[in-house]
Symmetry: C2
Subunit: 410 residues, 2 copies
């Protein structure tokens, strides 16, 4: 099946809006084994739109439109597609009732132009819009499948996942899973599982890298649910046997959320002290709702004075070993433990750059210290990249080291 | 002039890569007054590519290609465009020498396939690639302008701004400026300056909103540099007279960078104590290289205990007024001043949600305290949105209040 995605809207052609809809639909179709051959974007213009529809119907089997389904006069996707195909638009009573109901419930007066949204091309199915007012359209016409979706990304995504996928996946059942990894590069990961990726045409495996995290998406399709679940489990088991060390979760969650859950389960309190990450670790952690259950405080001890005053790091250690050293990282974590009485303390000290590096202590050198009442550990790392990326990689590594330490030692 | 942007690359049609190149070029062309009518993306496939070139030459005057200029066999943009137009590819000696030189300097052996990159269509100009190896192409052909740019965004952007703009802006001089605002919504801003936006067709004004910040981009074009500069100045003066209160900079910089520069100029040291922002303020500040010149430390006093222990907030205040109160914000900032001896201390306490709100103290209520040796101030705000957006808006407002306080009171 060859597909084209046509997005319609002046905001795309004036550079106001980045086209994330096309990206999303392309990913989803690829996962389902449908090949996307063309992306097209145009303004709301009758003649232009008519031309791109004609071109599209000559070259693909599945056309997915986004945008131009709303109530205003410049929303014309449904009208132009219908007239190009020679189909009448027919008022749909269910849609009319649902729309009137929606306005009534929200205590808003429905202006007459809204009624434009309840007409659908003859022979088409409508797709429910759970978020906005404009329904989508699903139409089979002369061996072609034509889908029209609203432009606002939230409306489009919800409608696509819930109503379009079941219609275009044919008789197949689709099961999907995500594996989250940390500390392994995308190309290294891909070569490690290359044969698994290519092994079975009913198993789609793709990797997505973003700032030190690589996600592995696995989608299986087929007719038998039990067989599919087994296939998914087998695939995950194979991947784990190759790169298990780098996996931090089998759910779509961030590394700090994993640490939060472990701490909550173990009923432990944590505190952080950060130098080169400057509060990044604490700020990522406190984005989690309810974090106060496990989080006491964080100290961003940037200056040497603050390391001594706040964490009781000894002046001798700072002079002899420097602020960026195994010894300082240890004393920071230990000082924080003693000061706060938490169950686990994490410290970070390093050189984020661009200046401050030397031959023996280059930019990117980072020490991560972990201390509990019973034990402690300091990890040395060297990260490449600019200041922001060294800070980001340190934050990811710090939580991953915490995760492993909490699981193994606590 | 009607333009089409054609991006070529399997990574776009498999959903691996979001198409930011097309977005960037569209924005830049719109600023120059060139209307973009079509976006098209296709795979590296000879027949498909030939078809979209034919279609494009029938409907626009300017075609900009991105991608497919590299050394491998599946990079075929130049080859297919040339053959479609009936143009020969000719080896360019300057490019050959430059490429060989580049490999020599990097101590890398040049594989023969790289030579593919030094051929250009007859009658074309080449565009220097300052970052990568593949040069771009600029070609005037039968009243059409055809531009080919490399796919990697950094290479593309540099080449576009430096070499393509001067060639397509005709005899015009282009001057541009950015105004950064905070605390005003995009639609409110647009209505306040609507008449200025529409006033003069040689002045292009667009707004871009992102998480509490709205940028105003102003681009003027014409033949006379002095007149243009006056036009730009006049436009900025008019905009300032309408919304001057919300402007924090006339440079493309973040609010925390403005605060950093003021502190540096005034030779002042700062410290932060944060509750609901959880380290976000410190982490944004410490992304700035060289921040240690003005930054001493930050304390993320999340628990009440830590507010008392670290900042000497009185238990009575916490009981009587609560952790989220004007009084606590003041005592936090004052406590931090006394503890650290910095010149200015900033405190933040609030309810980021989703839980923890009440009728008198709803989710989104935030107090920002500023304290110097001579004076102090507490600002009450209510922010809408989810936890992350309340934290983000608090961080922006905190730095903006700091900026104003430092300029007016210090």
């Amino acid at each position: 099946m060859r597909a084209e995605i046509i997005s319609i809207g002046n905001e795309l052609l004036s550079g106001d809006t980045l086209n994330t809809n096309t990206y999303y639909i392309t990913r989803r179709l690829t996962e389902l084994g449908i090949d996307v051959f063309y992306h097209t974007s145009v303004n709301d213009d009758v003649h232009i739109l008519k031309d791109v529809i004609d071109i599209s119907l000559r070259r693909v089997d599945l056309v997915i439109f986004t945008g131009g389904l709303g109530p205003t006069y410049d929303d014309m996707t449904k009208e132009v597609v219908s007239s190009t195909l020679g189909l009448k638009l027919i008022l749909n009573d269910e849609l009319k009732e649902a729309l009137e109901d929606r306005f009534r419930k929200n205590n808003r007066k429905m202006t007459p132009n809204n009624l434009k949204q309840v007409y659908i091309p003859e022979g088409a199915k409508y797709l429910i819009n759970e978020i906005g007012t404009a329904p989508g359209i699903f139409l089979e016409w002369n061996d072609k499948v034509i889908v029209m979706l609203p432009g606002p990304p939230k409306e489009m995504k919800t409608m696509f996942d819930k109503y379009v996928i079941p219609l275009i996946k044919q008789d197949n059942i689709i099961e999907e899973k995500i594996i989250k990894t940390i500390g392994i590069g995308e190309s290294q990961l891909e070569s490690a599982i290359e044969d698994i990726i290519k092994e079975n045409k009913d198993v789609y495996i793709a990797t997505f890298a973003k700032e030190g995290i690589v996600d592995i998406k696995i989608v299986v399709k087929g007719k038998n649910k039990d067989k599919l679940e087994k296939l998914l489990d087998d695939t995950i088991r194979k991947i784990r046997s190759r790169i298990g060390n780098y996996i931090y979760s089998y759910e779509d969650e961030r590394i700090e959320e994993v640490v939060f859950k472990i701490l909550k389960k173990k009923n432990m309190k944590i505190a952080f002290c950060e130098s080169c990450t400057g509060g990044l670790i604490a700020s990522k952690f406190t984005r989690i709702p309810g974090v106060s259950e496990v989080f006491d405080r964080a100290l961003v001890t940037y200056s040497n004075t603050s390391k001594m005053e706040e964490l009781n790091v000894s002046p001798d250690t700072l002079i002899k070993h420097g602020a960026v050293s195994k010894e300082t990282a240890y004393e920071m974590a230990k000082g924080l433990m003693e000061k706060t009485g938490v169950d686990v303390a994490l410290s970070v000290t390093g050189i984020a750059g661009p200046s401050g590096g030397s031959d023996t202590k280059p930019v990117g050198l980072v020490y991560i210290g972990i201390c509990t009442k019973e034990s402690s550990k300091v990890i040395e790392s060297i990260f490449n990249g600019d200041r922001v990326s060294i800070q980001n990689r340190t934050y990811l590594k710090a939580f991953n080291e915490l995760r492993k330490y909490l699981l193994l030692e606590c």
